[in-house]
C-alpha cells in the first residue's frame, strides 16, 4: 500500500451539534452567533443548587442518528458524569452516556473513490453536552463564553475499520451526508457543528497488536483530517524504520505546514472518574417510541437518489446534486409533489436556483422561493402559457416571492397559442412577403426564420413559437 510495509489503523470520534431549540439540560436557546453569554442561565453556569432536566428533543434527535446509522438503540439509558476541570466546563463534569450509550453496533456504507463500497462499523453513539468556548487574548488571559455550553451533541465512534486517509475522508463525507438527511444538524464545519477526534496507529502487516496511538482532537475540516493523517502515516513509518519508539500522545494539525505538532505526551491515562448521573432520571426507550421517531425520520439521500433515478427518470449526476443538502432535496420533493415536471424542476434547481444561491450567498431556505411557486412556473412552461424566454422574467419574480401565474398575467407575459388569433397574423405576414414564399418553395429554409421573426414582432413576442411554427408550415404548404 501507500505506506510500505505498514498497515494504518484509523478510528474516528465525530461530534455533531444537534440543532434543537433548547440546550440538553437547560431551556436556554441553542443559537449560534449571539452576543457572549446571552443564551445562558443559572443552570448553564452551574450555580449552586441547580439541577438538570434532559431535553426530549435532543434524545430523539440522537435516536434519529442511531437509526440512520443502523445502530441498535438501547432500551435503557442512564446518564453519566465525566469529571474534569476546564473553564468552559462549568459543572466540572460533562453529562454524557458512557456505560449505556444510546446506540451500539451500527454501520455506515462508504463509497470509496475506486467505486467500491466499504462497510465501516460504528462502535457506539451517544448524546452528550457541548462545552462553552474559550478565546485566548494576547493579554495573558483567556475569555469564556458559555453560549455553546450545553448544546446537545451526538458523538459517533467508529470501529478501527479505516485504513487510509482517503478512507477516513470518504467516511466523514458520507457520515456528514447521512446526518444532514436526519435533519438534526446542518453540520457546518466552519461553525464547528461537526468536529472529529482522530486516532491513528500503524503496525507492520500481520502484526497482532495495534501500534502506538496518536490522537488529534477537534479537527474541524475533512481536508485537515486527511492531511493530518497523511503526515502521521509518514512520520510514524519513518520513525519505526529508524528504529525509534513511538509515544502515545496528543498532537495538533498545523495547516500552514500541513504537519502535526506534539501537544502532550500521555504518561498516565486521563482519569475522568465516570459514574452514573444521580440528578437525572433514567430513560427507557420502548419499541413504540423508536417507531414514532423512525416515522418522523426524513428519507436518506440514497433512498431519494434511487427514487429520483428510477421513478422520476432523473440523470444520476443530477440526483447527486439534488441530494447535496436536505434542504435542496426536500425542496425538490415538494416541487414535484406540487405537480411540476420532475426533469424541468430538477433543471431549474440545479441550474438557475443554484446560480442564484451562489451569487447571493443565501441558503435555499433563506430565499423567498417556494416549491409551489417553482412548480407553478414549471407548469406555465409545460402547458405553453409562457415561453422559456418569458420564464426568465417569471423566474426573477418568483425568486422575489411573487406568484408566477399572477405575475405573468399582470406583466403580459402570456404566450398566445390560440390559432384563432394566430392565423390572421400568419395570413397577413404571408400576403406581405411573397418573395419569402418563393424562397421557401425554392428550398431556402432561411425564409421560415424570417417569417417567424416577422410574426413574433407582430405578436410582441407573445406567440407560442411551437404553435406558430406549426401554423406557418401548414399555411406555407397551402400557398
Amino acid at each position: 500500500m501507500a505506506n510500505g510495509n505498514f498497515e494504518t489503523t484509523i478510528g474516528l470520534e465525530v461530534h455533531v451539534e444537534m440543532q434543537t431549540n433548547s440546550k440538553l439540560l437547560s431551556p436556554s436557546p441553542v443559537h449560534y452567533g449571539d452576543s457572549p453569554n446571552a443564551n445562558t442561565n443559572v443552570i448553564d453556569w452551574a450555580y449552586p443548587g441547580v439541577l438538570p432536566v434532559a431535553n426530549k428533543g435532543a434524545l430523539e434527535y440522537g435516536m434519529r442518528v442511531a437509526l440512520a446509522l443502523n445502530a441498535k438503540i438501547s432500551p435503557f439509558i442512564r446518564w453519566d458524569r465525566k469529571n474534569y476541570f476546564y473553564p468552559d466546563n462549568p459543572k466540572s463534569y460533562q453529562t454524557t452516556q458512557s456505560q449505556t450509550p444510546l446506540g451500539t453496533n451500527g454501520y455506515l456504507d462508504v463509497k470509496l473513490e475506486n467505486g467500491e463500497t466499504k462497510r465501516v462499523r460504528i462502535h457506539e453513539l451517544h448524546v452528550e453536552e457541548d462545552a462553552g468556548k474559550n478565546t485566548h487574548g494576547n493579554d495573558g488571559n483567556s475569555y469564556v463564553d458559555l453560549n455553546r455550553q450545553g448544546t446537545p451533541l451526538v458523538e459517533i465512534v467508529s470501529e478501527p475499520d479505516l485504513h487510509s486517509p482517503d478512507e477516513a475522508y470518504a467516511y466523514l463525507e458520507q457520515l456528514r451526508q447521512v446526518i444532514l438527511f436526519t435533519g438534526v444538524s446542518e453540520a457546518k464545519m466552519q461553525e464547528g457543528q461537526m468536529r472529529a477526534d482522530v486516532n491513528i496507529s500503524i503496525r507492520p502487516y500481520g502484526a497482532k497488536e495495534y501500534g502506538t496511538r496518536v490522537e488529534m482532537k477537534n479537527v474541524n475540516s475533512f481536508n485537515y483530517v486527511r492531511n493530518a493523517l497523511i503526515y502521521e502515516e509518514k512520520r510514524q513509518a519513518a520513525a519505526l524504520r529508524a528504529g525509534e519508539k513511538l509515544v502515545q500522545e496528543t498532537r495538533r494539525y498545523d495547516e500552514p505546514t500541513k504537519s502535526t505538532i506534539s501537544m502532550r505526551v500521555k504518561e498516565v491515562a486521563d482519569d475522568y472518574r465516570y459514574f452514573p448521573e444521580p440528578d437525572l432520571s433514567p430513560i427507557e426507550i420502548s419499541q413504540d417510541w423508536i417507531d414514532e421517531v423512525a416515522a418522523n425520520l426524513p428519507k436518506s439521500a440514497a433512498q431519494r437518489r434511487q427514487y429520483y433515478v428510477d421513478d422520476l427518470e432523473i440523470e444520476p449526476y443530477d440526483a447527486e446534486v439534488l441530494t447535496q443538502t436536505l434542504a435542496m432535496a426536500d425542496f425538490y420533493d415538494q416541487t414535484v409533489q406540487a405537480g411540476a415536471d420532475p426533469k424541468r424542476a430538477a433543471n431549474y434547481l440545479i441550474g438557475d436556483v443554484n446560480a442564484y444561491l451562489n451569487k447571493t450567498q443565501l441558503e435555499l431556505q433563506e430565499t423567498k422561493l417556494t416549491p409551489a411557486n417553482l412548480a407553478g412556473m414549471v407548469k406555465l412552461i409545460e402547458d405553453g402559457t409562457i415561453s422559456t424566454k418569458q420564464a426568465k422574467k417569471v423566474f426573477e419574480a418568483i425568486m422575489d416571492g411573487e406568484e408566477p401565474e399572477a405575475f405573468a398575467k399582470k406583466n403580459g407575459l402570456v404566450q398566445i397559442s390560440d390559432t384563432a388569433i394566430l392565423l390572421p397574423w400568419v395570413t397577413e405576414v404571408l400576403d406581405a412577403n411573397p418573395q419569402s414564399i418563393e424562397d421557401f418553395k425554392g428550398g431556402k429554409d432561411r425564409a421560415v426564420g424570417f417569417l417567424i421573426g416577422q410574426l413574433m414582432k407582430k405578436s410582441k413576442g407573445q406567440a407560442n413559437p411551437g404553435v406558430l411554427n406549426q401554423l406557418l408550415m401548414q399555411e406555407l404548404k397551402q400557398r
Binding site: 453556569w45 449552586p48 443548587g49 439541577l51 432536566v53 458524569r81 469529571n83 440528578d279 432520571s281
Partner: protein, 488 residues
C-alpha cells in the same frame, strides 16, 4: 411586644393572624428581637434579613390575606438553600458573600404561602458534618447546653427552633442532617421520602441522598410545613409526580393496631446504654398506645456507614467541583495561573472536612478503585434497600434511636473523623433507601434530649406523622423549655 414561641404552635399563630389579634409585623419584629436576645448564646443565624422580612410582613398586613396556614409567620432557612439576592454561602469560605440569583423551589413555595424568612441558619460547611463545628464562620451551640454541639449538619436550624427563636426552619438531610440535630435539640425533624420535596436550589452534597425537610417543635407543625413544601417540581428530575396528601389528615387517629418493627441492630454497636434505655421506654409507650411491636433484623445495617461514606463522598466530590473560582464566589487573590485559580481557590476556600470527603470520593471513583469501592457500595445499597423492603412487607413502621448518644461537647469529636462517621450509623440507612424518617423527642438523659426515630415506607409520611403525634400527645416532651427560652 414580648412574645414566646413556646406558648404557641403554628395553628395557634395562624388563628391569631386571621383574627387580627396579632399582625405579621408585630410577630416578625418580636422574632427579630428574640433572635437578637438569644443568638449571642446559640449562634444559630449566619445572617438575618430584618428589613426585607418586615417589609414583607407589612405587605401581608396591608393585603390582609392570612388564609394560608403559614402566612405571616416567620421562619429560617438552612444556608444551603438558594435565596435570590440574600447571601448564601453553605457556611463555606468559598462562597463568602455569594448572592444567588434565583430562589430554591422550596423558598418559592414558602414565599407563595406568605411565610416570612428572617434569616439564614448555620450549618456544617456544605452540610458535611454532624456537629455544625465545620462551619467556616461560627460555632452554634445546643439549645439545652451551650457547651454541647447542636448536632449537624442542620445545627443552626435545629437550635434556632429548639431555642424558640423561630417556630420552624428548613434543613437538609443526606445522612441524618435533619434528624440528628433534631434529636440533639429535642425537637421534631423530618426527612421526607427521596423525591417528595424538590431539591432544586439545594446546594448539592450527594444528589442521590439529599432531601429537604422541616424542623419544628411539634408534629403537627411539621406536617403543616411539609404540606407547603412537598410536591412534584418539573425542575427536579428526581422529584416524584405522585399526589401529595394533607399530612395533617391522620393526626389524632392514634396507633391502635399499627405494626411496628424494632431492628435489633439499632441497639448494638456504640449505643449509649442510657440512650438505649430511654428509647426502649419510648417504644414501650408505643406498645401501650396500642401498636404491636416486634423485634426484626436489618442484617446489612453494619455496612451502611461504609456504603454511605463511599457513595456520599463520590457524589459530593463531583458536585463540589463547580466551586472552582471561575464563575462565582471566591477566587484566590494569589492565583496567577489558571491552575492556581483552581488549586489555590479550592485549597483556601474549603475546610478540612470538605477536603477530606472530596479526597475520599475522588479516590473511590478513580480508575483503580471504582469497582471495589463505588460500585461495591452501590451493590451493598441494594441489599440495604432489600432489608427494608422485607420488613415493610409485614410492618407499617420501623422505630429505633435517632443517634447513639446525646449531644457531646463542642470540640470533643471533631478531630476523629471516623468516629464522627460512625455516629451517623442509625440515620444513614434511611437515606440510602430513600425512606422517610422522623426524629422526635423521647425524653432526656442527663438534661439532654434523646431522639426517637420513626421510619416509614416510601411516600408514607402520613403514617409516621400519625404515630409520632400519638407519641407526642402521650408524652408531651415538647413542653419542656430550655433555659434560653427565658430570654424572651
Amino acid at each position: 411586644m414580648t412574645f414566646n414561641y413556646f406558648d404557641h404552635d403554628l395553628s395557634d399563630l395562624h388563628q391569631k393572624l386571621l383574627n387580627h389579634e396579632l399582625t405579621a409585623q408585630e410577630l416578625t419584629q418580636a422574632t427579630l428581637d428574640n433572635i437578637a436576645a438569644s443568638d449571642g448564646d446559640v449562634q444559630a443565624f449566619l445572617g438575618t434579613n430584618g428589613p426585607e422580612a418586615l417589609q414583607q410582613a407589612q405587605e401581608l398586613d396591608e393585603k390582609g390575606d392570612f388564609s394560608n396556614p403559614l402566612a405571616g409567620i416567620p421562619m429560617g432557612l438552612k444556608d444551603n438553600l438558594s435565596t435570590k439576592g440574600l447571601e448564601t454561602s453553605g457556611a463555606s469560605k468559598i462562597l463568602a458573600g455569594f448572592k444567588p440569583v434565583y430562589d430554591a423551589t422550596v423558598v418559592q413555595k414558602l414565599q407563595a404561602a406568605g411565610a416570612i424568612s428572617v434569616g439564614k441558619l448555620n450549618m456544617d460547611e456544605f452540610a458535611m458534618g454532624g456537629s455544625t463545628e465545620n462551619s467556616a464562620y461560627q460555632k452554634t451551640t445546643n439549645a439545652w447546653d451551650h457547651t454541647k454541639v447542636p448536632g449537624g449538619s442542620s445545627g443552626g436550624s435545629a437550635t434556632a427552633v429548639a431555642a424558640g427563636q423561630i417556630p420552624y426552619a428548613l434543613g437538609s438531610d443526606t445522612g441524618g442532617s435533619i434528624r440528628q440535630p433534631a434529636a440533639f435539640n429535642g425537637i421534631v425533624g423530618f426527612k421526607p421520602t427521596y423525591g417528595r420535596v424538590s431539591r432544586f436550589g439545594l446546594f448539592a452534597m450527594a444528589s442521590s441522598l439529599d432531601q429537604i425537610g422541616p424542623l419544628t417543635r411539634t408534629v403537627k407543625d411539621n406536617a403543616l410545613v411539609l404540606n407547603a413544601i412537598a410536591g412534584f417540581d418539573k425542575m427536579d428530575s428526581t422529584s416524584v409526580e405522585s399526589e401529595v396528601p394533607d399530612f395533617t389528615a391522620r393526626l389524632g387517629q392514634g396507633i391502635k393496631g399499627m405494626r411496628i418493627a424494632v431492628p435489633k441492630e439499632y441497639f448494638e454497636e456504640g449505643i449509649d446504654p442510657k440512650v438505649a434505655q430511654q428509647v426502649k421506654s419510648a417504644i414501650e409507650q408505643l406498645r401501650e398506645l396500642g401498636a404491636t411491636v416486634d423485634e426484626v433484623s436489618l442484617p446489612h445495617t453494619r455496612y451502611g456507614v461504609a456504603a454511605y461514606y463511599i457513595i456520599m463522598s463520590s457524589e459530593a466530590s463531583s458536585n463540589l467541583q463547580r466551586y472552582d473560582g471561575i464563575r462565582y464566589g471566591f477566587r484566590s487573590p494569589d492565583a496567577k495561573s489558571l491552575e492556581d485559580v483552581y488549586v489555590k481557590t479550592r485549597s483556601e476556600g474549603f475546610g478540612d472536612e470538605v477536603k477530606r470527603r472530596i479526597m475520599l470520593g475522588t479516590f473511590s471513583l478513580s480508575a483503580g478503585a471504582y469497582d471495589a469501592f463505588f460500585k461495591k457500595a452501590a451493590q451493598v445499597r441494594t441489599l440495604i434497600v432489600e432489608d427494608f423492603n422485607k420488613v415493610f412487607n409485614d410492618y407499617d413502621l420501623i422505630v429505633g434511636p435517632t443517634a447513639p448518644t446525646t449531644a457531646y461537647g463542642l470540640g470533643e469529636e471533631i478531630n476523629d473523623p471516623k468516629a464522627m462517621y460512625l455516629a451517623d450509623a442509625l440515620t444513614i440507612p434511611v437515606n440510602l433507601a430513600g425512606l422517610p424518617g422522623l426524629s422526635i423527642n423521647a425524653g432526656f438523659v442527663d438534661g439532654l434530649p434523646v431522639g426517637l426515630q420513626l421510619i416509614g415506607k416510601p411516600f408514607d409520611e402520613a403514617t409516621i406523622y400519625q404515630a409520632a403525634q400519638a407519641f407526642e400527645d402521650a408524652t408531651r416532651w415538647f413542653e419542656k423549655r430550655p433555659a434560653v427560652a427565658e430570654k424572651y
